[in-house]
């Protein structure tokens, strides 16, 4: 017992021995199992069919695997290999550390970029004006998306379903871009609200100082609506708003186009007419009607 314990301690102290022992045990186990499974086949050796014909495909595969294990086990006992395993066990913590370090640095870099950029957004929001809206404010989000995520959606797709997968990825990408543009649009659209309340507060403060405050709160509502309307008119005429609106529409349409293409794929698979099929038909009908009208006028 004491000898076994000593042997066990020896095994655990050296990783190469541990591996060899494990491979030997595995080899012995699978060898015995194989003998049990192949036994019945050997019993039938008197049958006219050859040995290879009587073995099942599963038995053949197991035998091949076992042989490979046995070979590996032998090689593992080889002093050179044992040394290599021993060295690997010493260097493994270093390698793992390097992998973790690289991943962490990458993650930290992305996080740092995000923090810097979100900081800029806050800065821009505080200093807004219709005439001089920071054009880069919302481009930052798009940049983050495009630099850190978008490329994953554009990894070349392989195999039979590559076109379908590509469309799904494209739809995801287009939807994200639409959301970014829509966010910018809504931000601009809500700015007059914020600004009009501020102007209203200034007006009320001024009235209070002058002692001209009105008792009818409807007066303040009318004043606010007038201020709000004025702000919207200014905003709507600004190039920034027109560009944001254009981007929102463009990205929405790009998304809808790919979404429709995916729906059309499904309809095709279900042997149903797609919108393109119907449009082709409508176009043909329209042209035919025109030709008939011309012919009728001639006759």
């Amino acid at each position: 017992m004491g000898l076994v314990m000593a042997n066990d301690q020896n095994i655990f102290s050296d990783p190469s021995n541990l591996l060899s022992a494990w491979m030997k045990t595995a080899s012995d186990f699978w060898g015995e199992t194989l003998k049990v499974w192949t036994g019945p086949a050997k019993d039938r050796e008197d049958s006219p069919a050859s040995d290879s014909q009587t073995k099942s495909r599963a038995q053949e595969s197991l035998e091949t695997v076992l042989k490979t294990w046995q070979t590996l086990s032998k090689v593992a006992h080889d002093p050179g290999t044992s040394e290599a395993f021993s060295n690997f066990s010493h260097t493994m913590p270093d390698i793992l550390q390097k992998i973790i370090q690289a991943s962490w640095q990458g993650l930290f870099h992305v996080q740092q970029q995000w923090l810097e950029k979100t900081g800029k957004i806050e800065q821009s929001t505080q200093a807004y004006s219709f005439e001089n809206i920071d054009k880069n404010t919302f481009k930052i989000w798009t940049d983050i998306y495009e630099n850190n995520f978008k490329q994953f959606l554009h990894i070349p797709q392989l195999g039979l379903t590559r076109f379908y997968q590509e469309k799904i990825n494209q739809a995801t990408d287009n939807y994200n871009q639409f959301q970014a543009a829509f966010g910018e649009f809504m931000y601009l659209f809500c700015l007059p609200m914020e600004k009009s309340f501020k102007v209203l507060q200034d007006e009320v403060a001024k009235m209070a100082e002058e002692g001209t405050l009105k008792e009818d709160y409807n007066t303040y509502y009318r004043l606010w609506i007038k201020i709000l309307e004025g702000h919207y008119m200014n905003l709507f005429k600004s190039a920034e708003y027109v560009q944001a609106m254009g981007r929102t529409l463009d990205t929405l349409q790009e998304y809808l186009k790919v979404r429709d293409a995916i729906i059309q794929d499904w309809l095709k698979a279900m042997a149903m007419p797609t919108q393109t099929d119907l449009d082709d038909l409508y176009k043909e009908m329209h042209q035919l009607k025109k030709r008939i009208r011309k012919l009728e006028k001639k006759s």
Partner: protein, 386 residues
Amino acid sequence: MEKPKIPVDLILSKLAEDAEKAQVRAQKASDVLLQALDTEIATTPYDVVYEQDRIKLKHYRPITDIQYKHPLLVVYALINRETMLDLQPSRSVVQNFLEHGVDLYMIDWGYPSRKDRYLTIDDHVNVYMDDVVDFIREKHGVPKIHLMGICMGGTFSVIYSALHPEKIQTLVTTVTPTNFDTDQGLLHIWMKAVDADRMVDTFGNMPGDFLNFGFLVLNPARLMIDKYVGFIENMDNKQFVENFVRMEKWIFDSPDVPGETFRQFITDCYQKNLLIQSKMEVGGQRVDLKKITMPLLNFYGKYDHLVPPAACEHLTRQVGSADVEDICLETGHIGIYVSSKCQREFTPKIAQWMKTRDAIKRPAAKRRKAPQKAAAKRTRKKTVAS
């Protein structure tokens, strides 16, 4: 005692007073909203006398003797519906025309479906409008008819009159955009940035709700907030509620716009401004405004935020007719047709103007040799009605 700068007591008493009023109003409003309301629109009787594809021609039943030799055809826009001209009996352009003895026809463009996406301006003007005009001419045995266009329908009427002047006795354009190179209206600014090709390729037809949303955000303070605050303040007034609901029914009844028509209207008109320059092509023919030689009456609204005066007032200077008149009413895009004040000025003026030109010979077109001199001699009038 010196008057306080903040009249706290007055503000509080006013608040208490308003709270009581609001409670009474809420009770009355509940009675009003729960009872049967008359919110029907377009109730003036008519017969559908002609149909082609999705379009219908309405002929309104006369209520008095017909006073005109030539019937009047009204062409509405493809955006929203012609029911706006007959919202309620007391505010109905249709009723007013009938009372003046006008033999009235109106095109109902219907609801375009996906199969209509390839219909162009050429189809609307040279097929549907032309067939309708021919039908009316044949039915009445007259060579010409009076033509009145509203908004985009006015633009179609201008194109039609330039391409088929021999069939039109007089032309009335109301809030009709013909000059699109202006920054007065937001639509004109926005449409320049719109990629019409991409939109049509994506949507097929332009969804009516999408367009309506676009019109709402032209003035969100008024159209999305103040309008409904006004409704809440008047919910206890049955007549107000009925009129409000009628308007809501009309304004959100938005057919889609056929894709190819939308594409051409945006690119040729809003983006290239071809019509006013007589460079627009429809059905392979150039739309030469100088061929509009019939009398022309041009109405527009001073406070129109959709089709501002700058988009309308150039037309009378570009046509070939010597008998032209601009009338600028102090109202907005819809007010011309629905405000009580404009009802007293708008329809009677058109009825009177058409009457004096109903049987007369068409005024001679200007001489082509000296267009500038001739233009100076024209009896061009501009009226600003208040």
